[in-house]
């Protein structure tokens, strides 16, 4: 079965300071589907261009917006107009974005303009004889669904950790082209008054960002407010730290760390939940994880129903012991 390759347009998330892992994963997947052009909403740095080349973008198309581009490009309707214009310019029949709240909006709005089908939060994208198919996990990871756009063009978003990022053997310097875009009045009808960076937990700790980490250690009410053991195991594993809504509401951890249907949705290779009972809202945000490990002193906690491995015990004793054993193991591996 051979399927004809596509002309693929990939929206780059962070053009300023090099690509983050979700973008690298997306480019890795994109080049298996066809010829890749990357779209940057702001002028990319040399680092970003080199990164894009390493992961197979043959061309980087840079959007030139009038005025302060860094403001306009942050508005989903403006970004969507740029993305749709770029799809027309390149003749792309496949438009790919990483999955985030903003990117889903951008993708949906661009698809609306392009008359394209839209499939969000895929965990895989493939070409079959009948066309593009996006794989999705729905209902908190309890159902697997294959979604096929019925239109000649398709826009899809890909979740983090869906593929393993791999650089190309011989990167070429991508050609840089420019595309001038004049946003419509409708797209700029809502005005961005201010945009303030706040240091995320990941920035402060040097740990990976929660949404893109391949390993996550999360704490809940059972930590009783002491996230020390959670952070200890996370650091031993090189994992991100996550939390339940309860732990965030108690002020034990920052809002950025909240895993759940209204927080960050994660699907790491391994998730460790400590002192977490496994309420539906939290499960909705983590149940698609590859391997689920739970530590809780209540053997009847619902989280054990969805766990692959569980320890019934006090997390304050279990986690540090596990962290020490993992560090010892890593030391022997050199």
């Amino acid at each position: 079965m051979t399927a004809s390759p596509r002309t693929v347009l990939v929206l780059l998330d962070t053009p300023a300071d090099g690509l983050r892992s979700p973008a690298r994963e997306l480019l890795t997947l994109a080049r298996s589907l066809g010829d890749v052009t990357a779209l940057a909403l702001e002028a990319p740095s040399e680092t970003t261009l080199a990164d894009a080349a390493s992961y197979g973008a043959g061309t980087v198309l840079v959007v030139d917006l009038p005025g302060d581009a860094s403001v306009g490009a942050r508005l989903a309707p403006v970004a969507a107009e740029a993305l749709a214009a770029a799809a027309d310019r390149t003749g792309a029949d496949l438009v790919l974005l990483t999955s985030s709240f903003v990117n889903r909006e951008i993708g949906a709005l661009a698809a609306r303009t392009l008359g394209a089908g839209f499939v969000y939060d895929t965990s895989g994208i493939s070409l079959t004889e009948s066309g593009v198919v996006g794989s999705k996990r729905v209902f908190a990871g309890t159902w697997d669904v294959e979604c096929a756009p019925t239109t000649p063009r398709a826009v899809l978003t890909l979740r983090s950790n869906s593929v393993v990022a791999q650089p190309v053997a011989e990167p070429v310097v991508p050609g840089v082209e420019h595309l001038a875009v004049e946003p419509t009045a409708a797209a700029t009808a809502a005005v961005l008054v201010s945009r303030t960076a706040h240091a995320t937990a990941a920035d402060q700790s040097g740990r990976p960002a929660l949404a893109e980490a391949s390993a996550v250690v999360a704490g809940g009410r059972g930590t009783l407010g002491d996230f020390g053991p959670v952070e200890d195991l996370a650091d031993a594993l090189g994992a991100a730290v996550g939390a339940t809504r309860d732990a965030v509401d108690e002020g034990w951890v920052e809002h950025d760390a909240q895993i759940g249907q209204t927080g960050v949705t994660i699907a790491p290779r391994v998730y460790v939940g400590a002192g977490i009972s496994g309420a539906p809202h939290h499960r909705g945000g983590m149940q698609a994880s590859g391997v689920v490990v739970a530590v809780n002193n209540d053997p009847d906690s619902p989280i054990f129903e969805i766990a692959d491995f569980g320890v019934v015990g006090d997390l304050a004793e279990v986690l540090p012991q596990a962290a020490a054993a993992i560090r010892a193991h890593k030391a022997t591996q050199g």
Binding site: T142, P149, A190, T196, Q261, A307, A322
Partner: protein
């Protein structure tokens, strides 16, 4: 001030959710509910109206709107319990199988129809529906209506004909403003929804729900539903159950067992 709150009837998050053989969300009146995040949208709308002075309040209204079959009335009844003044359901067999674009077209057409009765100043939605979790219909409705979109508000104020929101994205806090009319979505951090009021619970059972057809809102049957869907579900299946959990009771070596499990499975 007239505020329309589009709401959705979704399978209860505690129920055994699934898809029909046709790839559509399985919905039943028995386990269906008002999408929990829509309660924040209703609350936001009620608070805006309650903050108005008496004369303005007298001419203000919060309208709940849903798109769906008769079972979706359950979501509107819950909205009545919370205090909305009137409720509309756009129901038509042709709507079945709508994708996000068809859904947005239907919601927008219904809002336009309501706007023709009496001007609509604001459309407020929840941040996501807990079945699909796409969070894109709000944006698409704004685009259909040609109105400014201010999504994912964790703070919302309406003053002097202008809406202002604050939102937290990963790593950034943004403030956005727009003149009314506008389309807004709110997160579950924007407020704490009130509990249904007993008097309203009793009254909600018999309050009138106005049912609109596609013809009433000026949409052709082939503009929505399966006919217009730009994607389809080609396969769906419940994930195979996880193997039985490997459970260890900590007697002093639970942490070692955990580490050994991760190492054995190449997860370290």
């Amino acid at each position: 001030m007239r505020i329309v709150v589009p709401v959705k009837h979704v399978p209860d998050i505690h129920s055994d959710r699934g898809l029909t053989p046709a790839g559509r969300v399985r919905r039943g009146a028995d386990d269906g509910t008002l999408n929990e995040l829509d309660e924040n949208a209703v609350e936001a709308a009620l608070q805006i109206v309650e903050a108005l002075d008496e004369s303005e309040r007298a001419t203000s209204e919060v309208v709940a709107l849903t798109v769906g079959p008769v079972e979706a009335d359950a979501a509107l009844r819950k909205a009545f319990q919370l205090g909305v003044g009137s409720a509309y359901r756009l129901g038509d067999d042709a709507l079945a199988g709508s994708d996000v674009f068809g859904t947005a077209a239907a919601v927008a057409a219904a809002v336009r129809t309501l706007d023709a009765q009496a001007p609509v100043d604001l459309v407020i939605t929840g941040m996501a529906a807990l079945d699909g979790l796409g969070s894109v219909v709000t944006s698409l409705v704004a685009a259909e209506l040609g109105l400014p979109q201010l999504t994912l508000a964790s703070r919302l104020t309406v003053e002097h004909g202008q809406v202002e929101i604050e939102r937290d994205l990963e790593g950034f806090t943004e403030v956005l403003t727009a003149p009314l009319p506008a389309v807004v979505s709110v997160t579950d951090h924007v407020n704490t929804p009130r509990y249904p009021n007993f008097k309203l619970i009793m009254a909600a059972r018999t309050k009138e729900i106005t049912v609109l057809s596609l013809g009433d809102v000026g949409l052709a049957p082939d503009a929505v539903g399966e006919a217009a869907a730009r994607s389809r579900v080609v396969e769906s299946a419940p994930r195979p159950p996880r193997p039985e959990v490997e459970l260890v009771t900590d007697k002093g070596e639970g942490g070692l067992a955990l580490a050994e499990y991760l190492i054995r499975n190449d997860l370290v």
